[in-house]
Point group: C2
Chain length 706, copies 2
């Protein structure tokens, strides 16, 4: 006897989200009652929420920026004072010790809170948000606690001098803010403001989370259009405009020139003039190939190393911080690359082993925030950098970034990638200028920009969004085309070797992620082959005991059940009438919406839509609901609570058709019926995510089972 | 006895496009046979086509720009020489006559070709492309002839001095180019290159047409990101990048500075510095209200006037051209607003009634191309314009633009709108500066920008795309937020009075256009109420005579037929097995894929997918297919040619659900089935477009019946 397969274990780890609009009868009736004015109120609320998301995300970005600036400034001053004081006396090792200790202790705090309080706040959070928007919920990903830990963690990692950026995590932060505001309550704070109750369901929440992600991107890069490429709409765009505007205003006021409005994002690439050297598109092929080869190492190194014990994770983070400080120090000591202090815009010039009136440029590279280093690499006039220094710096920073990625700290990979890319690109530009004896097509700043684009593109493998983001960050449409070429080359070369970093991350965690396009070689499959069968169906009027037993069956852990015509006489599967979700059944059981078998006609609805909404999104487990033996013999009428028109397909539907339906409508369950409308199977996210295109054609993935 | 309603007359005028991927069995089998390498070839072809679309669109834009510049320069020189020669001698009326005649004759040619050769080339073509992408094909809209007429028409209208722009029509031109290239053949030229045959179906063609539209927008405004807001993807973005790059390169070379790359679009707003006055968001409420009120007049005036006889249309166009010239001349004569010639960047300064070393600024406004006037209004320093001159100009240009819109010439409404808006905005800024005694928040150029945004937004009612386009055209993210606020206000105020110009246009032509969102008050409807019923069904093995009779029935003109299980004994509707299109049936009849009733088992397929593709998109009418009396008695087996898994919904499905399915999947037919999978009705585009939200709730539209 086969085990029913309504929804193959998505895994206990992840939860599938329901972006399908098919709500139950109660919801449809509410929608029907809603009049024009009420609808307009809902619309206005949507805009208000998006404005709030934008403002809060912008403020969080400001907060991070200002705190980092101050703390880092403080740290630099302490270290600089110390160096100035002790260098003469030969106490250089003491300075090194101080620097390493300071960094290590700051990073320790950052790592401790992440490892012990909220491990999901580690990394940039972009893969997690990608999964959320795709329909898979990783536990705790949009909780308030995660946000707090994330923000503190990012500040501490950046201040701790790790080779990380604060831009990526803004996307996660924006999403959490959006998830919180849109629900009008916080389960962590146990506070329900009784507002925005209409939005308490997966579809609505998803829209707001994507608005939050857009606001985050826009706060990070000053690129409000960037996330449009992910299929966002007016609301999301509105949120991102507000977010970048808020950030811009607050930072302008903070920096004392209120109407200047010149910091649209946490990182600004500065303005490029439109003169493009001819060499850029030509030179990039090789450049990119090299770069992408680098990425592969990066990815492998960073992904393969997983330390699972929290204590060890903290120790490792501290170690990396200390090593980073030491490497920096040793390189400063060894390089002795002195530049005149006049005319340079360095915030913390260190004299260190240089003559008076000069500063150590390697020290600058390590003491600057990475954001400033990137901008300097883009804009400094030719001749500002010693190729040796630059080469050494690139190499060391590359290895440090590789090691850092994967640490249990909150940190982004955007800025380190940009920095490494910019450094390689500039180096490439300088070499080219040596080779061609300085002909016109060798402005190293432009090469730095292209290198940064290539490096970032090789790592995250997004062409469209990155082009827009980079184009917006440079504020010049002219660079769009070369940037896009570079990104496409990076993606093609990179894809030939390994997957992108985020996709690797997602796949390593065995998330049933649905890519936008169905794998090509799946054309020969039809719904019949893909579907799970047999399926546990419920009858329209079902025994309570049966429902409880089905829900309690931990071996299946199903989430959706087709409802068929009640036909108690035969065991044969009958015509499909609707679909009901586990969460809805649990609410029904909890409120004991039963009726005795004898008085079937007396069935009265005692449940309101509000009862379902209040339970969202943390429905109690079946074990917590007590049903007595008498109650087990009662009947439960599902007809008013089920979705009366679930999406169905016949068995001959092609896999492409099923996939398209799933992606276009954000389905969770798709019922497969035969010619007489009888249920023969069910397709769920897992059935689709199981197949992917491997080296040897279609292969079945092993998705998380634990 | 009711008439079957498979697809209510969409009208003989328009054709419904099939963006639903549900192809017939042959196609599915081909897809199944396709291997990885073949799939990759198709992918590469897609990118190649998009690159070609981008390059060609860019070249067409260059061609228009260069020809207009030269012809207009020639015309200006002739008129100026004439004025210079005769003004002294008092022959001013002769100059006026020459000017008016020149303009009228140029416009006459432009109007003649549009009115007599291809009327669909009139206007900007944006509503038509909007309809095409929505799924309604207006005849001839993507033909080569249309493109040629459009390009010539635009050049002639602009050179003829009408109050029109050349930017809007670029979108239409790009779309035609895309439609042509992607099919690898031209039916107008009767040339088939036998390439890109894979793309000969509505879905694929739509994707390319949207890429062409994106390339057009990007060539016009240098805004490659703009059309992303319409849900476009990588391919479209690629096409628009290429297009803007091509235009930029060619124009840079043409203007003699090859690596300057400073003209990303036909119109560039020039660079704004980021200092934003505080007043802008405050002042805009009133400003916008005024402006939108203006729009209403504009829309009403321009829409209500329709002259249908081609000869009269040509005469009217000539009249408008002559009046435009006369008005310009009279205003130049009356205003006598003289400005010093030093330090001004005017291309054709006219001394006209001014002292030596001065020029007539009103003459400049009329002699400049509108693009340059817009940019001047944005960037000229405060004090450049006399408020009286500006006010007069605005008023006159406004009325001329109103009259011009709706003429039978190819022309866009973007630039006139921007110009009027910029002029009003600047005027508003100047007044504000008078009122506030010139405090800091009154740089009139910024107000001109906001005014232009508001005016354009009020007319076309697009918030998202326009914000992005304007933001990209200004090259400054900082202005995004105020622009978006202004556009939203303009939309809200405007929507309170009338619909947008394009929507009006679409509605006046009774196109069954599906808006993105379902009307709100339609919640109480279900599929049962919306669907057309009864439906003409075909049996799986059907008599040829029956098929011919059904197709020949001009009273119904159906396009899709559910195929049900063959059950010759009963007339009762049986279980749904598939769906077949009129076009497919016609190909079957044309190739006589029949079998005699006696030898049903001998059915052999003699048709290939190629036969369907070759017939696309101009399938012969049923009248042209001769079927003999003997053949009428043969049988036709539809099972291999029908789509075996059409989308279906139960009768209780909410209208929202039906609408969502339609929009998300681009459906043409949706079969409504009962609990036993028997066909009870069919929902088509027309059933959905019938309902719209009027002042008094849901109203039924009268869609084109002719």
């Amino acid at each position: 006897n086969e085990i029913p397969h309504n929804e193959k274990l998505l895994s206990l780890k992840y939860e599938s989200l329901d972006y399908d609009n098919s709500e139950n009868q109660l919801f449809l009736e509410e929608e029907r009652r809603i009049n024009h004015a009420a609808f307009r109120t809902v619309e206005i609320k949507r805009w208000v929420i998006c404005a709030m998301i934008g403002i809060l995300t912008g403020l969080v970005a400001c907060f991070i920026d200002i705190v980092v600036e101050n703390l880092a400034g403080l740290k630099y001053r302490v270290v600089k004072d110390n160096i100035d004081k002790f260098t003469a006396k030969g106490g250089l090792s003491f300075s090194l010790l101080l620097w390493a200790t300071l960094n290590a202790s700051v990073v320790m705090v950052g790592s401790l809170i992440v490892a012990f309080i909220e491990p999901v706040a580690a990394g940039s959070g972009i893969p997690q948000i990608k999964c959320y928007l795709n329909g898979v919920k990783i536990p705790h990903v949009v909780r308030l606690k995660t946000l707090v830990i994330k923000v503190c963690g990012v500040i501490l990692s950046v201040v701790g001098g790790l080779a990380v950026g604060k831009e990526g995590p803004m996307i996660h932060s924006g999403s959490v803010i959006a998830a919180g505001i849109s629900q009008g309550r916080s389960t962590s704070l146990k506070r329900d403001f009784k507002i925005f109750e209409y939005f308490r369901r997966d579809t609505e929440k998803r829209d707001f989370v994507s608005a939050g992600a857009a606001a985050g991107v826009s706060a990070a890069f000053g690129a409000p259009v960037g996330l449009l490429t992910l299929g966002c709409i007016s609301l999301q765009f509105f949120a991102s405009m507000i977010s970048t505007f808020t950030l811009n205003s607050v930072l302008s006021v903070y920096h004392g020139n209120a109407w200047d409005l010149s910091s649209p994002g946490l990182i600004n690439f500065g303005r490029f003039d439109s003169e493009v050297g001819t060499g850029i598109p030509h030179g990039e092929g090789l450049d990119t190939a090299l770069r992408s080869f680098g990425d592969i190492n990066l990815s492998i190194i960073s992904i393969c190393r997983y330390i699972h014990r929290p204590c060890l994770q903290v120790v490792e983070a501290m170690l990396v911080a200390a090593v980073t400080a030491t490497v920096g120090f040793v390189m400063i000591y060894c390089s002795r690359d002195c530049q005149p202090i006049q005319g340079s815009s360095v915030a913390y010039p260190l004299q260190l082993f240089c003559a008076d009136g000069e500063y150590n440029s390697m020290a600058t590279a390590f003491f600057n925030t990475p954001e400033k280093s990137v901008v300097n690499l883009f804009h400094d006039p030719p001749g500002s950098y010693n190729p040796m220094t630059l080469g050494m710096f690139t190499l060391m920073y590359f290895f440090l970034a590789c090691w850092t990625y994967g640490l249990t700290v909150s940190a982004g990979v955007f800025i380190p990638s940009l920095l490494i890319g910019a450094a390689w690109g500039r180096l490439f530009g300088i070499s080219l200028s040596y080779l061609t004896k300085g002909s016109i097509w060798a402005d190293p700043g432009k090469y730095a920009l292209m290198g940064a684009a290539a490096q970032l593109g090789g790592i995250v493998r997004m062409t469209l969004s990155l082009t827009v983001i980079m184009m917006e960050a440079t504020g010049n449409v002219t660079y769009g085309f070369p940037i896009m070429l570079v990104l496409m080359t990076a993606k093609i070369v990179g894809d030939y070797f390994v997957e992108g970093l985020y996709d690797m991350h997602i796949q390593l965690q065995s998330v049933p992620f649905l890519h936008w396009e169905a794998p090509v070689t799946s054309h020969s499959l039809t719904a019949r082959e893909v579907m799970s069968t047999p399926v546990t169906c419920l009858r329209r009027i079902e025994r309570v005991g049966t429902v409880v037993d089905i829900l309690s069956d931990t071996s299946s852990n199903h989430n959706g059940f087709p409802v068929v015509e009640s036909n108690p006489d035969t065991t044969q599967v009958a015509g499909l009438r609707g679909l009901i979700l586990r969460s809805q059944l649990i609410v029904l059981l909890k409120h004991k919406v039963f009726v005795e078998r004898a008085n079937l006609s007396l069935v009265q609805r005692r449940l309101k839509l509000k009862d379902f909404r209040d339970a969202y999104p943390r429905f109690p487990p079946i074990q917590s609901i007590h049903v007595s033996q008498d109650e087990r013999e009662c009947m439960i009428d599902l007809s008013e609570f089920m979705n009366p028109s679930p999406y169905t397909v016949p068995q001959v539907t092609s896999w492409q058709g099923v996939f398209k339906l799933f992606r276009a409508l954000g389905l969770r369950h798709l019922v497969v019926v035969d010619n007489r409308n009888e249920v023969v199977g069910m397709v769920t996210r897992k059935d689709l995510a199981r197949y992917r295109l491997g080296k040897e054609g279609l292969e079945e993935l092993s998705l998380a089972q634990t």
